[in-house]
Amino acid sequence: MIHLTIDGIPVEVEKGTTILQAAKQAGITIPTLCYIEDLLPDGSCRMCVVEVTNNGRSKIDTACTLQVSEGDEVQTMSEKVIDSRKKTLDLLLSDHNVHCFSCEANGDCKLQDLCFEYGLEETSYEGEMTSLPKDESNKFFSYDPSLCILCHRCVNTCTEIVGRAAIDTMERGFQSVIGAAPEKVWAEGTCESCGNCVQACPTGALSMKRRKKYRAYQVDKVVRTTCPHCATGCQMDLIVKDGKIVDVKGADGPSNRGLLCVKGRSGSFDFVDHKTRIRHPLIKNKETGEFEQATWDEALDLVASKFSEIKTNYGGDALAGFACSRSTNEDIYMLQKMVRAAFGSNNTDNCARV
C-alpha cells in the first residue's frame, strides 16, 4: 500500500493507483474534461493538473496519468494549480466560438461551468478561429468544429466503449477536427447513430438536433425508466418539458452502463404522443365497416356482453386473450388473470414465439 496526503488528508491506496483515483477515494473532486472512467487516460486536456511535492521537490502534472508514490503531498487547489488551469481554459477558449446564448448546450456545458468557476470570461489570445463547416450529415446530431475542444472523449467513447471506431481525429494542430474516416463526413462512415459520443461531449460541439427545442434549465423533470425496445433492458432518462418528452439520455444501468443504441436514444419517444395514436374507444359500425368513436362504457359493456354470450353458449374455451411482450409485467399479469378468472379459459399466450 502507498501512503500519501491529498489537500492534507491522509490516503492509503494500492500501488499503481493514479492521483485522480486516489482523490476520488478520499472524496475530493479534481476537475476533468477528457477523462473517461474505466479507460486509459487520454491526458490531453490538462484540466486535472495538481501540484505534487515529494522529497522537497515539487511538480505540476496531470492527475489522471500520474501514479501515486510513497510520501506524495498532493495539492489540488494551490495557486500554481489554479494558474495552470486558467491558462488551459484560456487556450481552449481561444479556439472556441463563444456564442453561448445561441448554443444548445448553454447551461449544460462543462467548459462553460469551468470557465465560470475559474473566473474566465473571455480569452486573452487574439487570432484566427477554426472556420471549418459544421457536419450536419448525421440524421440525429451535428458536429460543430468551432465548439470542439479536441478532448477526444467522443473518439475514445466510440472506439473503446462502443467498439465501433467510426470516428477519429483528422489532420493535425490548429485544423484538427473529429470525423468519420476518411471522408470526414459522419454519415458516410460506419457510424451507427447510437449517439453515445454526443452524450460524452462536454461542450455543444456534438449536439443532438432535437436539443434546439429545449434548454437545460427548461426541463421540468427527468424520469428514470427502462427502454421499450429490446430485451437488453437499458436504463434511460426521459427528459420532460411542458408535459412532453423532448429527449432521452443513457443512464447507468447494470446491463447498459450508460450506453444506448439508436433505437433507445432516438426511437423511443416520438411515438408516445404521435398524431396517429388512438385516443378514444372505437366500435366498428357493422354496416359501413368504419370505426366510430364511443364512450368507455359503451365499448366495455359491448366487450363484456359479447364475451359473456360466447362463454355462456360455447364455454370458456371458445375465448382467448393474447398478451404483448412489449408491455409491463403488471399489465400481462392482469391480462392472463382476466382470461383465466373471467373468460374461464387457459387460452392465453404472448408473442414470445413470434
Binding site: G253, L282, G344
Partner: protein, 532 residues
C-alpha cells in the same frame, strides 16, 4: 439467460455466438461483445450470414440454416474424441451422459461438415477454443429457436455447455438473448396456456387449486391452446372470441393470408392498442391503452432482471391504463376485481409466485437495490436475487443430457423454389416498426424493405444490386430491393421482417416447432425474379 450480460462479456476468455446478431438486434449487448474481443476474448460466430461481428471472429462457421442440432452434436463428438470433456462435472452434476455419447457417436466432424456445409477442421478448432477456455459463454438468439427443431437446438446447446462444465460460473452459461423488451416477463407472468406465473404448471398437482383460492373463483383445469395453434381453431370455429393486447399478428406471424382469414372468422374480436395496426383494422372494438412512458410498472430483461418503468407524461384524449381496462372487463363479466395500482399488482404477483416473492416496487425503488433491479429467482424480501443460475446445483437437481438427432428443415428448396430464405432484424427498427417508424430520422436511414442475395445466384438470374425483384413462396409474392453480395451463402437469401410494404411474412412458413409451436421463420423456400 443463466448469467448476466456483464459477466459473459467482461469475464469470459471466449464467446460462442450462435444464430445471434447482437450488433443489430441487441446493440448495447453487441457493443459489449466488441469490448470483449478488444480485451482479447476469442469469438466464435456460428451464423449463416457474414454479420459484422464475423469480421472480428477467430472462427466464423457459416453454416447452412437449420443445421444447429448437427453442429452441436459435432462439437460434442469432438469433445469426447479429443478428451476435452469435464469428467468431474459430468459425474457430479449431470445424468444420462452415456445416452448422449451414443447419440453423438456418428456425428464425426466430416459428417457434420457435410450437413452444415462447413469445414471440418474449423469445427474442430471451434470445439477446442470453447472447451479449453477457462470461462466461455454460449449466447444464442432466434437463429436457434425459430426452427421447427428449435427446442432441440436449445437443448443441444445446453448439452454442449454441460459436457465441458461451463455452467453455473461467471463468464459461462447458456444465454438466450431474448428478443422483445419484456418477452421474458410475458413468459414469467403466466401469459401461457399451460403455466401460471413463474412457470407453475397447470398440470402439476395443487397449482390450479392454489390460484382458485388466491383469486376466489373456480378455474378451468384444462391446458389451453398456444397462440399459433389458436389460428386454425378460429377458422374451424372452436375459438369465437379473442382479445389481443398490443400485438400485430397480421404483420408479425408467418403466412399472413392464413392469419387474416382466422381473425375474420371470429364472432367478436377486440384489440387493446396504441395505433391502428393491420390487426386492429380487423377488430370489432378497439380500446386505447397506454405506452411505457404513460404508466408505472416493470419490465424483465433477458437477464431475468426486473427493472422499473415509470410514468413520464400523459397524452391528450381518453386513453386508459391497460390494467384499468382489464379490471373493468373482469368486473363487467361478473368477476369482482378491485382496481389496483401497479405496485399493488406486483405485490399480488409476489404472493402467488415463489420466484418473485421478494420483488416489490418499493424494494425496486429502494436504496438497497440502487437502481440495479432484482434478478429472479428472488424468493424473499431479504433475498438479493440470482445473477447466475445453476451454481453448485441445477434447478432440477442433476443436469440432464437430452440427446437430439438432426432433422432437416420442414420446407427445403426444390426445383420450383430453389432458394432458402431466412428472416431477421436490422439495427434501426423494432419488429413491425409500430414504434420505431414514428421517428423520421430512422425512416430516412432505413425506410424500405430489401432482400440480400448471393452474388452467384443474382448473376445466374441476371439481377443487379439495387434492382427491384419479386420474391415468391408457396404462400405469396412480394417485391423488394435486391442487395447483392457475398453476405449469404450461395443458394440462400435473407430479408428483414419489419416492413409493411414487402413484408416477408407473406412468404414465411407456418411449420411449427414440434414442442414450443414457434414458427420456422428462419427457413423457407422461395424463388426470386426481376420485377416485371
Amino acid at each position: 439467460m443463466t448469467n448476466t450480460i456483464y459477466d459473459i462479456t467482461h469475464e469470459s476468455d471466449a464467446i460462442m455466438l450462435v444464430g445471434s446478431n447482437p450488433e443489430e438486434a441487441h446493440p448495447v449487448i453487441g457493443m459489449q461483445v466488441r469490448q470483449a474481443v478488444a480485451r482479447g476474448a476469442k469469438l466464435i460466430v456460428v451464423d449463416p450470414r457474414d454479420i459484422d461481428l464475423s469480421k472480428k471472429a477467430t472462427i466464423h462457421l457459416k453454416l447452412r440454416p437449420g443445421t444447429n442440432v448437427a453442429f452441436a452434436n459435432g462439437l460434442m463428438h469432438i469433445f469426447i474424441e479429443e478428451g476435452l470433456v469435464d469428467q468431474k462435472f459430468i459425474e457430479e452434476r449431470t445424468e444420462n451422459f452415456e445416452a448422449m455419447k451414443e447419440m453423438v457417436k456418428d456425428y464425426t466432424p466430416e459428417k457434420v461438415a457435410e450437413i452444415c456445409q462447413i469445414d471440418a477442421d474449423q469445427l474442430r478448432e471451434a470445439a477446442r477454443i470453447y472447451a479449453t477456455a477457462n470461462r466461455a459463454p454460449i449466447m444464442y438468439c432466434l437463429g436457434v429457436t425459430e426452427h421447427h427443431t428449435g427446442t432441440e437446438g436449445v437443448m443441444s446447446l445446453s448439452n454442449v455447455a454441460m459436457m465441458v462444465g461451463k455452467i453455473g460460473r461467471p463468464g459461462c452459461g447458456v444465454n438466450p438473448i431474448r428478443g422483445q423488451n419484456n418477452v421474458q416477463g410475458a413468459c414469467d407472468m403466466g401469459a401461457s396456456p399451460n403455466q401460471f406465473t413463474g412457470y407453475q404448471n397447470i398440470a402439476a398437482p395443487g397449482i390450479v387449486e392454489k390460484f382458485e383460492e388466491a383469486w376466489g373463483v373456480k378455474l378451468n383445469h384444462e391446458i389451453g391452446t398456444k397462440a399459433t395453434d389458436c389460428f386454425p381453431k378460429m377458422i374451424s370455429g372452436d375459438i369465437k372470441g379473442l382479445l389481443i393486447f398490443g400485438e400485430d399478428p397480421v404483420r408479425t406471424d408467418p403466412n399472413t393470408h392464413h392469419v387474416i382469414k382466422a381473425l375474420e372468422s371470429l364472432d367478436f374480436f377486440v384489440v387493446d392498442e396504441l395505433f391502428m395496426t393491420e390487426t386492429a383494422k380487423l377488430a370489432d372494438v378497439i380500446l386505447p391503452g397506454r405506452s411505457y412512458a404513460e404508466k408505472e410498472g416493470t419490465f424483465t430483461n433477458t437477464e431475468r432482471r426486473v427493472q422499473r418503468v415509470r410514468k413520464a407524461v400523459e397524452i391528450a384524449g381518453e386513453t386508459r391504463p391497460d390494467t384499468w381496462i382489464f379490471t373493468e372487463i373482469m368486473n363487467r363479466m361478473g368477476y369482482p376485481q378491485p382496481h389496483l395500482t401497479p405496485a399493488q399488482i406486483m405485490d399480488e404477483i409476489a404472493s402467488v409466485t415463489p420466484s418473485f416473492a421478494g420483488i416489490s416496487h418499493e424494494r425496486l425503488d429502494s436504496e438497497e437495490v440502487g437502481g440495479k433491479g432484482l434478478q429472479w429467482p428472488c424468493i424473499s424480501k431479504d433475498h438479493p436475487g440470482t445473477p447466475i443460475m445453476h451454481v453448485g446445483k441445477f434447478a432440477r437437481g442433476l443436469g440432464y443430457f437430452r440427446p437430439a438427432a438432426y432433422k432437416p428443415s420442414a420446407e427445403l428448396p426444390d426445383e420450383e423454389y430453389p432458394l432458402l430464405m431466412m428472416t431477421g432484424r436490422i439495427l434501426y427498427h423494432y419488429n413491425a416498426c409500430a414504434m420505431t417508424d414514428k421517428t423520421e430520422g430512422i425512416n430516412e436511414i432505413a425506410g424500405s424493405s430489401f432482400i440480400e442475395l448471393n452474388t452467384a445466384d443474382a448473376n445466374a438470374l441476371g439481377i443487379l444490386d439495387g434492382e427491384l425483384v419479386s420474391v415468391s413462396s408457396r404462400r405469396g409474392t412480394i417485391q423488394a430491393e435486391a442487395r447483392v453480395s457475398g453476405k449469404t451463402n450461395k443458394g440462400e437469401c435473407w430479408m428483414p421482417f419489419h416492413y409493411l410494404e414487402g413484408s416477408c411474412n407473406w412468404l414465411t412458413s407456418d411449420a411449427l416447432d414440434g414442442i414450443s409451436s414457434t414458427p420456422e421463420y428462419k427457413v423457407c423456400a422461395v424463388k426470386v425474379a426481376k420485377a416485371e
